[in-house]
Each structure stands twice: as structure tokens, then as C-alpha cells.
Amino acid sequence: MTAGTAGTTGTYAPRPGAAPLPRMIGAQAALETKMLLRNGEQLLLTVVIPTLLLVLFSSVDIVDTGAGEAVDFLTPGVLALAVMSTAFTGQAIATGFERRYGVLKRLASSPLPRWGLMAAKTLAVLVTEVLQIVLLTVIAFALGWSPHGNPFAVLLLLVLGTAAFSGLGLLMAGTLKAEATLGAANLVFLLLLVGGGVIVPLDKFPAGAQDVLGLLPISALSDGLRDVLQHGAGMPWGNLGILGVWAVVGLAAAGKFFRWE
């Protein structure tokens, strides 16, 4: 530590001003992405678990995935899981702790507007998803995956799924305590992994349960992706509709109930 300099040097003379908005949002998104990729638990959720599930269940015949190659059934489900792990679980846990440790509060008094912070968070989620999808796609191809269908429908499903899971994740992070969010987000991840048609086909569940489970965002996303990628269907409007409703309800509720500190 150096001693204070006597007299005026002008070093600290006020020269206030906000950086240009794109630079602020870009910097914020880069930092958020870096924090996410540096966090071991987050990587476990977003990279390790989806990759392991894909490799394990494609090569070992444990779950009856119906007719056709296991990898063709599993890849769409694991892609849906990857979206959920980042947009919902990871975002909920990270944002919950940012709220708890005053990060959101401190940023709220910075030149970055709140909507800019949310835009940066969305960008960070999208960047992470792109990395996940590239990784999982490469592995799936190595395992013999042969996808079909309309890439635009896939993109639309992924975007709407991201919006739905982001809304729910932010709702949780903005209303519960950080520890509660940590526990609940992991629990929901696990439950939806099992009951959301990711690796276990929904038709293994009793008929009544299937109807309910089919309305979950994870089921709509994995089922929609499977319709297109495995069966070459056109626009899966039903699943897109379910995701759209979750997205609108989740984001509206998050917008209304989110507490910044």
C-alpha cells in the first residue's frame, strides 16, 4: 500500500459516463459465461452429466428406448436436458447466489440497466448452450447418430425451451433463499431427468401419469426434438405451444415476483 499523495494530482477528477450499451452487455455476458464455466458444480450439471448419460445409455442397453438405435432416441433427450441444465438449474443457482451475495444489488447501481443485465444473462446462457450442443452433437455423431428433420424447427424448440426454463429458473432464484434454490433446482433437475422423457420414454409410465408428464416443459422439449430429429416430423406445434405457455407464464411471474436483494 502506498501512502496518500499530498495535494491535487487530478487522478480522481470526476469524468463520469456510461460505456456504450453493447460494450456493457458484452462485458457482462462474457463475465457471466466465465463464472459459469469456472464453477465445478455447474460444469457437472451442464457438461458431465449430459455427456455421461449420452455415452452410457447409447453404448449399454439398460433402458428400453423402443425401436431404432438408442443414440437416435437419446440424443434429442440429452439435448433437452442440456438446455434445462443451463437455462434452468444453472441459471437459478447462480442467480440465487448472486442475489444472496449482493452482486445483483451492486450491479443495479452501476451504469448497466437491469434489462441489460438480464440480456447479458440470456446471452451467457445461449453461449453455454451452443458449447454444450456442439460437444453433445460431436459425441452423438461419433456414436452413430443420424438426425433428420427441419433445423429451423429444432432451433425454434431450443429457443422456446430456453425461454421457458429461464423464466422458471429466474422465478425460483428471485423469490427463494439461495440455499433453497440450490436444493430445489437440483431436485427438480433430477425429477425432470427421470420423468421428463429424457432417457426413459414417457410410455413407460402409467397412462394417467403420461398425460400430466407430457405437459412438463422438459417433456415438451425432449418430445418435440425427438419428433423432429428421430422421426423427421415437421413443426411440432403441440410441443411448441406447451413451451410457449411455460415461457410466457414463467417469464411474466419472474418479472413480477423477482426480488433483487
Binding site: G4, R15, P16, L31, S109, P111
Partner: protein, 307 residues
């Protein structure tokens, strides 16, 4: 320096549930360093956080640099620097990384490396925030408050928990900010901090400003001072009292040890020594005790500052 107030708070009321944290508070802070002094729970943080735009007043008005902190935050935020009482940093971020990030949100930030050097944050290296010492976390928060070259800086208990060396480094930075024309509002419950740094001190208790002025004005105006001397035991205190101005007190505390209370000025000192001369007393160990802000505070509120 600008002459209009940097902060204007009028009749601010802020309640949390049934608890009234701020109860009709008026505060005008001019350019320079203003210390908001008071015990824990007095409403210091609530007042400052209302100025920072974090809390919406239940009633009353708040203007910071002439702007409404809630409705005009887009214009105001780039012009202020904020140091929260704790936290504010990603637990997985390194000190330099976070500081560079905040710098990137501003148009003309300070030289980050020089600031890191200045505040001794270079030794943090690759350590992430959650593993930094309390003092390092405090200094990082201070650096984040000034890096954007603001006009006005809010520091909420900037030296709480710092060792003396770090405390003085913080004081030096505040003095340099002031010298370069940055205004500072700081909360503290250390009166020496207020006395050392502040042009103006506002004493807050139970959600109101109970006194405001320069440290000298507060010490002179609020509390009476004390003059002590020693002499032979058993002097006629009643006769001394008659010689003194009406509002003074005089007492023999222990045999041969005397105390005179009142407005201690050169005239009073002369009165006491001339009374001693008339009575053939050689006063020894004459001392004048100036009252501190702590005494002023005790007198105003009947409470210890560090409660």
C-alpha cells in the same frame, strides 16, 4: 467545487413492516466529505441506500446531484460510485477481474492497474473473492466504487473490520478524492473517522438527524468542556463558583483535585487563575478537555455510539 448540494433529503420516511427505520429525516450534503454518524440501527444504511436508488421512500423526497435516484437512475448511476457494506462481487471472480469488469461499464475509468497497486490488491493474485480476507474484500469494494470516476461516492462503513494500516490507506484515498473534487458521503460509527475526514458531520439517531455541522462546530456547540486543576485540598468551591459565569459548575472531585465545567474559553481560564491568585493558590496540572463527537453524541442521545 460546486456550491449546490450533492444530496438533498427532505422529510424522508422509510418503514420495514411495522418498524420505522427512517423517521422524517432531513439532510443536506454539500460538496466535500460528509460523514453520517450514528449507532447501529440508527437508519444510516437505509438513508444512504435510498440515495443510491435501492429503496423507494415511503414519503419525503430524495435528490442526488439534482436527480431522483429511483426514477432517474439511468442518468444518475454513471455519476455515482457505490460501496456496499458487504458483498457485491461474484464469489468465483478474482479481484482484478471484477474491478476490470466494473471499469468496462464506464466510459472513462481510472487506470485499473494503478488502482490495484494503490489499494494493495495486487497480492490477491488469482484468489477468488470468497477466499479473500475481509480487508481485501473491503478494499476491492472501495476500488469498485471509485473506478468509474464518479462525481459522488457513497461509502457504507468503509473501514469496518480493517486493520489500522488499511484504515489509513482508505482515509488517504478519501482525502485524495476530496482534493480532486469528488464528493463523498460515508457512514461510520467511528467518531475519529468522522473527525479525520469530514467537512460536515450529520449525527443520526432513531431515524432522524439530531445534529449537523463541522466536527469543530459540533464539539464546540453541543457539549460543554471541562477544565481541571490541582491545588491544596479544601478550597472554597462556593466562592469559586461565584466568580464564574452563571452556567458553570465547580467541584472538588477528590481532595486537591478540582473540576470546572462550562464554556471553556480564554476568559474562563483567566477567571479561574485570577481567583486562585486572590486566594493564594498555586494551580497545578491545569488541563482543558475538549469534548469529542462521542461526548456530543452521548449528550444528544444518551447512547453509546458503538452500541
Amino acid at each position: 467545487m460546486r456550491s449546490e448540494p450533492v444530496v438533498q433529503v427532505q422529510a424522508l420516511v422509510k418503514r420495514y413492516g411495522t418498524k420505522t427505520a427512517v423517521d422524517g429525516l432531513d439532510l443536506v450534503a454539500k460538496a466535500g466529505v460528509t460523514a453520517v454518524l450514528g449507532p447501529n440501527g440508527a437508519g444510516k444504511t437505509t438513508t444512504v441506500e435510498t440515495c443510491e436508488g435501492y429503496r423507494k421512500p415511503d414519503s419525503g423526497t430524495v435528490r442526488v446531484l439534482g436527480l431522483d435516484p429511483v426514477r432517474q437512475s439511468r442518468q444518475l448511476n454513471p455519476r455515482i460510485g457505490v460501496m456496499l457494506q458487504s458483498g457485491g462481487v461474484y464469489s468465483g471472480a478474482r479481484a482484478d477481474e471484477m474491478l476490470r469488469h466494473v471499469a468496462q461499464l464506464h466510459a472513462h475509468p481510472l487506470d485499473v492497474d494503478a488502482l490495484i497497486e494503490r489499494l494493495g490488491l495486487g497480492s490477491c493474485g488469482r484468489t477468488t473473492y470468497r477466499r479473500l480476507s475481509g480487508g481485501q474484500q473491503q478494499r476491492l469494494a472501495l476500488a469498485m466504487a471509485v473506478v468509474g470516476r464518479p462525481e459522488l461516492v457513497f461509502l457504507d462503513e468503509p473501514t469496518a473490520g480493517l486493520d489500522p494500516q488499511a484504515r489509513h490507506a482508505t482515509w488517504d484515498l478519501v482525502r485524495d478524492l476530496r482534493a480532486d473534487g469528488v464528493s463523498v458521503i460515508l457512514t461510520t460509527h467511528h467518531m475519529d473517522e468522522a473527525e479525520q475526514l469530514a467537512d460536515d458531520v450529520a449525527i443520526i439517531d432513531a431515524g432522524r438527524v439530531v445534529a449537523q455541522g463541522s466536527p469543530e462546530q459540533l464539539c464546540r456547540g453541543g457539549a460543554e468542556n471541562t477544565l481541571r486543576f490541582s491545588g491544596r485540598p479544601g478550597l472554597d468551591v462556593g466562592s469559586l463558583l461565584k466568580a464564574l459565569p452563571a452556567d458553570c459548575t465547580a467541584a472538588e472531585l477528590t481532595p486537591g483535585s478540582y473540576r470546572v465545567g462550562g464554556k471553556v474559553d480564554p476568559q474562563l481560564l483567566a477567571t479561574v487563575t485570577s481567583w486562585c491568585a486572590q486566594h493564594g493558590v498555586m494551580p497545578e496540572k491545569i488541563s482543558v478537555e475538549r469534548h469529542t463527537l462521542e461526548d456530543v453524541f452521548l449528550e444528544l442521545t444518551g447512547k453509546e455510539l458503538r452500541s
